[in-house]
Symmetry: C2
Subunit: 394 residues, 2 copies
DNA sequence: GTAATATGTTCACACATCCAACAAATCATC
DNA sequence: GATGATTTGTTGGATGTGTGAACATATTAC
């Protein structure tokens, strides 16, 4: 039944979870800090940390730097052999990585593709890559599981990909197939939702409980929402599809109104075209944008920021976030003219909602999706360390 | 410190909370059902219910109806003397009510106004009404506190009304002033957000963890969101302001695109005008709408449903709710042509998001806001029955 | 009536956290 | 460089929670 936090056993599990969660979040915490943060007794923390160490989830190391009077407290770190495997199938490549707790990507392989693969082929290739990576791990390693960041609508409950247009997948049970192929617990979710989660835990949105993440990728605009400190998935887990929202700039002197989906109006292709670029490299695009003095380019950037501000207006009114995190080329066009977007948003949102919100760009860089995907696998482990680690070990 | 669910004391408090929460939600539960639902032991439930009864929060009554073999289990009900006071200041009246747990409005007074009052006057009048109502209560009554549903942007943290245009309030500390005037703990929130909460707990959204509530009132469109089974407030608590979203119908043969805020386009005034009505009575409006065969009225209803469908499209894409609840005149125009809205939304949202969502009208009727406001006061009591009830009693 | 069933009641028990006392390791001071 | 102050680790007993088995009780089924 649903006995959560009811009996003594559950208390212990919950406390284990809290401590492992703090270690995961901080990367390295002294036992005395854990005592302070959890409010638990010194002796209790010692026992719990001992149990986590016995499960090979954390290690205690001698305090290195000197930090004040009193007996030095041992530093608790994620166990280097406790990892998750992150998978990111894309149009042009499959990336698989090994990720430690605290979002540390230890190693990764990128398997380039001529053309997007079907689900079965993708699973076959991925399973091979996973096997290669597992061979590098010590036999005693604890593998929390596999998390997949998929560019499409993913039913989080069971990791069924309902629709991934750029992979041409429909109702593809990736999580189930991956689990069969590897024997590991598998989870899948939308890539942008996982980006939001990663930025929330380790990136620009640390300690922010209400944020919107918007990512501009080659194939469109994806997004994710963190509300009340938790990922907002919705019933199916499809939440965060900002790209398909209908937005229209209000009529202006030189900007006639035109309605369309956000990702049709705010679009990387239009920028590349005006810049005369063929490459899809995000770094190159940003450099070109920042250095261009072509008025047509500036005008297009302003137009796109204008449309984006409408989408943000609506999202901010509804969600009242503390932070908007922009990733991909949205971060780039924001960087071209930071003040413009601020002003546009300020002019449209309710004063009370606006005064709390900051707009920043994503900070996690290229590892973002692997970190987010790994989070999927770590989440159940952290929620109940003792139960999961028992079944997981290698 | 943040010791939540860590030690033994917290376990008991949490279990008390769960049981009181179930009683609040169900209205009347047998002890054996509580045992099943909580997963706790019979003896534990007996002890916990006994403690709640001693705090005068619940009463145990003899099982009336016969329900099967075995020894009958006592029925646990909310204590009739445990109440919250709900306040709803509006443009034309101040309503104050006494509400029991399980959303039972016991009594209410409506104080009509010539013109909207300022904050201080409102608090003075309200305090008087509260005093009158308290006089009707037995001396032993437990008053959880006062909850206020305010038509405006309310900072939930401290119950500061940032902006209530129709009351002409700016930065009005209602909760604080009411607390001073009555000596009771006071809370305030946006009216539509509380409507969403009430519909979630007791109305159309029972057992639905992800829903959107949209209310069409005389002064505009308000809304609220429940996500992950919790009210989505955002940082400040201003979330749910769907009314100010910019929406545009896509260009169509007979419907040229026009951008505007949702509440300007979908508007009760336009309907009243076409119907030739002056009254603002919701029941009368609905009857007129349903019986009118004026093509201009039908056209306007269709137009408003079209615009509403855009707003819903965007909201559904972002929030992937299980349910959309329509209150006020939005429920009325929906009732005129249920299929149209369904079709429009179906045509615009992603298939995966659409298949989970149902659109229904609100079910709680006129008591909605009082029930929602009372919830504000009950919430802390239910979260920690022992602590709050000790300090609250009269 | 008697058996079966489900639940209330009682009390010994298990066990997670707390607490107090002591030990250990660092810093500050003379 | 020794001493005291401070902080934290360690240990073993105290506290109080939920559990579970045995018994009592009230209803239904036959």
């Amino acid at each position: 039944m649903n006995n959560r936090g009811t009996n003594l056993d559950t208390v212990r599990r919950y406390n284990l979870s809290r401590i492992l969660g703090l270690v995961h979040h901080s990367g390295a915490v002294s036992r005395s800090t854990l005592t302070r943060e959890t409010g638990l007794n010194r002796s209790t923390v010692a026992a719990l940390v001992g149990e986590l160490a016995a499960l090979r989830l954390v290690v205690e190391v001698e305090p290195a730097g000197v930090r004040g009077v009193g007996r030095p407290s041992p530093i608790v770190c994620p166990h280097p052999d406790c990892v998750a495997i992150a998978v990111n199938p894309e149009q042009d490549a499959i990336t698989v990585g090994i990720v430690r707790m605290h979002g540390q990507v230890v190693s990764q392989v990128r398997h380039e593709l001529e053309e997007p693969l079907g689900v079965d082929e993708t699973v076959r290739v991925t399973a091979g890559l996973v096997a290669d990576l597992r061979a590098q791990l010590p036999a005693s390693a604890v593998i929390a599981g596999i998390g997949a960041a998929v560019p499409g609508l993913v039913r989080m409950r069971d990791g069924l990909v309902r629709l991934a247009p750029h992979l041409a997948w429909v109702d593809a049970p990736v999580a189930m197939l991956l689990a069969q192929a590897t024997g590991l617990p598998c989870f899948a979710a939308n890539d942008a939702s996982l980006g939001a989660l990663a930025e929330h835990i380790f990136g620009a949105g640390r300690d922010v409980n209400d944020l919107i993440y918007l990512n501009g990728g080659p194939s469109g605009i994806g997004g994710g929402v963190i509300a009340n400190g938790m990922p907002l998935g919705g019933v199916g887990g499809y939440a965060g599809e900002f790209g398909h929202n209908l937005v229209t700039a209000p009529d202006g002197p030189d900007q006639p109104s035109a309605g369309g989906a956000l990702e049709d109006e705010v679009n990387r292709g239009r920028l590349l075209e005006l810049l005369g670029l063929k490459s899809a490299d995000p770094v190159e695009l940003e450099r070109a944008l920042l250095h261009s003095d072509d008025p047509a380019v500036r005008r297009e950037v302003s137009r796109q920021l204008g449309i984006l501000s409408i989408a943000l207006r609506n999202a901010i009114n509804v969600l009242n976030p503390e932070l908007v995190v922009l990733g991909g080329f949205l971060g780039s066009i924001h960087a071209v003219d930071e003040e413009l977007l601020e002003q546009l948003v300020a002019g449209q949102t309710l004063a009370a909602s606006y005064e709390d919100v900051r707009i920043v760009r994503a900070t996690l860089g290229p590892d973002l999706l692997l970190i987010g995907a790994a989070e999927l696998a770590f989440e159940p482990l952290i929620a109940d360390p003792a139960r999961v680690a028992m079944g997981a070990g290698a």
